[in-house]
Symmetry: C2
Subunit: 446 residues, 2 copies
């Protein structure tokens, strides 16, 4: 069982990861406001036995809408509730900011989602540093220290509110007129420097107790939050060694706070482009690139390898005279790959197709090749999980129909869900309230 990996899927407004995916054949250009698209994708992912659908979220319009749809537009609680009603097993994970919200609202909305989905909700608790998102909430950019101090208080308050309605409090004896054991429904009375809430919540635990807490965002502060509170972490390494390093740090952080590293899954962001042949996968990516802003991409590739490049160079290899002076830009960890591909004599278009400026590593090729890549990362010890970002949303079907069966055959992925809740999928125990032993480790926080 421990050999098996965990998978979530992310769709970015329903189109898929590539910015121009909204123009891809078969993709509904109105996906960003169409809940049906998310429901259908979640049903596909559920057929593939994914652990969860994941909606990242930064509440700001950061794309240029002249040429690209808003990202993460349809509000996640609304989207996931729609999905919850029309799926049965797949987990439902959304980001909600500890900087911009109030714990009572987050505790209540995620618990409601957890109840409506019979125990399938997850909350990715992140701090917000995006200036535009902060301005939408009428505030400036808090310091990193402030953000994480608030995040700590915030997550503790949410978990305490969840725990304010204990297991087995519900009685619901109509004959006797006894609704609940009131001694098991009690205020939390938390008051910190940043947030306070009295409680109790008006909602009892779900089938999994409380939603699974995910953490994302790096640095020591992030690790402390993960170690103290989370059962899952989103990470975006560009290569295996940094993935392994982060997974080890997450496990260590859990141990530091007296929690089991076995109850931690690190989900590594991966983009997938699957086709019948490796060549077709590259061509698919070239076609997606061609629908977007190639000019900017070519210019940026030039910066990655330290040579001047423009759109006219798109179908030629980087000229030998330029290659002699090329060097990988140390500010961008993806630059060595770009330089290597240029050195192999690929055209600029083909270099780009390899994903040299994508936010995540690109697993491209045949279903077997994509499975190989995931297996290599997995067996290296990157933390058991992947957050799959299909290049365009139709890629999810290819992944489910072609890659998943290979992973299953290799014993790397479940054939059936073992249980019904997200906690079941992740192999973590029921929890309702703060982690056991939370009080003992409070000192370690500061």
């Amino acid at each position: 069982m421990t050999r098996q990996m965990h998978l979530t899927v992310q769709l970015i407004s329903g189109y898929g990861l590539e910015p121009a995916a909204w123009r891809w054949p078969g993709i509904d250009p109105a996906s960003f406001i169409n809940a049906d698209v998310f429901v259908k994708a979640a049903q596909t992912a559920e057929r593939g036995r994914f652990d969860a659908l994941f909606l990242a979220d930064t509440p700001v319009l950061s794309t240029d809408v002249a040429t690209a749809p808003p990202q993460q537009a349809l509000e996640p609680i609304v989207t996931l509730t729609a999905v919850a009603r029309e799926t049965e097993r797949i987990g439902l994970v959304a980001t909600s900011s500890t900087t911009l919200n109030h714990p009572f609202t987050v505790a209540r909305q995620f618990r409601a989602l957890d109840l409506v989905s019979q125990g399938r909700a997850g909350w990715n608790a992140v701090t917000t540093s995006h200036p535009g998102a902060l301005l939408n909430y009428g505030t400036g950019v808090p310091s990193r220290g402030e953000r994480y101090e608030r995040a700590h208080e915030f997550i503790a308050a949410v978990m305490a509110l969840w725990g304010s309605w204990e297991d087995d409090a519900l009685i619901m004896d109509k004959e006797a007129g006894r609704f609940a054991d009131a001694s098991r429904v009690t205020p939390v009375g938390l008051a910190g420097r940043h947030v306070a809430s009295r409680g109790p919540l008006g909602l009892p635990p779900s089938e999994q107790g409380q939603p699974v807490v995910f953490q994302a965002g790096g640095g020591l502060n992030g690790l402390r939050l993960a170690g103290r509170f989370a059962n899952a972490v989103y990470n975006n390494p560009f290569d295996i060694p940094s993935g392994v390093e982060h997974a080890a740090a997450v496990a260590q952080a859990a141990s530091t706070y007296g929690r089991s590293p076995d109850h931690m899954t690190v989900f590594n962001g991966i983009i997938t482009s699957v086709a019948s042949t490796r060549k077709e996968a590259l061509e698919r990516r070239e076609q997606l690139d061609a629908l977007g802003d190639l000019e900017t991409k070519v210019a940026y590739l030039g910066q990655q390898i330290g040579v001047p490049l423009s759109i006219e160079d798109i179908d030629k290899p980087v000229h030998q005279s330029l290659l002699e002076n090329a060097r990988a830009n140390p500010a961008d960890p993806r630059s060595p790959l770009a330089l290597e591909l240029a050195g192999e004599g690929l055209t600029v278009r083909r270099i780009l197709a390899h994903g040299t400026m994508n936010y995540h590593p690109v697993a491209l090729g045949t279903p077997d090749e994509v499975a190989d890549i995931l297996q290599r990362w997995h067996e290296a010890g990157v933390g058991k999980g992947f957050n799959i970002n299909p290049d365009a949303t139709d890629g999810l079907e290819h992944f489910v129909d072609e890659v998943i069966p290979i992973l299953q055959e290799r014993g790397l992925f479940r054939r059936e869900y073992a249980g019904t809740t997200l906690r079941d999928h992740l192999g973590i125990p029921r929890q309702n309230g703060l982690p056991a032993g939370y009080g003992q480790h409070v000192g370690a926080a500061s």
Copy 2:
């Protein structure tokens, strides 16, 4: 058409209005966490051509859970999203507080609900003064002035955010790669004393433009908010004259701010208990009462009419010797009715069954009698709308199957929906952004 009334329905956690309704035969005692109950009720109300399902909301656990379920527990955005996916026409209205939330969240969640429901959302914008709800949000009780000043800024900010994405901004031309007209998607940059938001929102208008704004809560401050921003108002009069008075004040408030009184509907809260005979309706109410805390009710009836009463008196008329000194308690507008019924020699149990201490007037009796009551109020000019509160949720089916056809026959209620959006049902025009002429009347606010 102007003869017709408008109807919303409210279920109070899915059980119905009476506190003991959770114990009523056929009612699921877990309704407060069961979205299916709300979906089914909404489908029933849609069959009856109701304008909307309404979820009032105060985010606090205010019942004694030993004997009664939490009220308004399942979070409204989650509940209404579930309902939206499984209904087609009925409006979806929820309360959300201007005191406890941030405009960006409210603007985004209600617009998402409006999009997912194809233009059926409504937002009941209220201030919060409940100390427990405020403590859940870590804050004390603001003054009435502060609350309403913030409410004003808050609603303006939400409407401005809705308007930040103009009509016809969406292009979605996949061939040309033009997603939207960026000149029609612009920041709002609102900054007041209480709330600020830059925007723009990442979501375009729905089929009705933006959600319908409802207002609730009395006094001059409430009227000003209604007059300036709302198209619908919730009011809870105990008798026709105060209902008429409030409806006139609402119409006047709209005119004051240059808005049409014809585009205002006042929904008056009414409890319904429908049965084959008036006697059966009273017996139904007695049975519901018997499942609750009769002791407290009897004692309170004593206070209403100024005589000592206890549970032992329940099946007797109020004794003649007591009646001689009885007087209606001036602090409770329902007291004259209680005194009148006592004077008629009804037993204490039967007096209570008339709803002498209910939060709304009780329309009880045969379908014809209930229709008569609604017609009488309606024709007196209470503002065209009723918020129907069935005593227990099964009462909604009686109302839809038995009362609605009578209202239709009398020409007092629609037989079919005329349109698809909540604005269509209410007969109000499309709106996206602040009301026309908003700027001209800002001075009138203070």
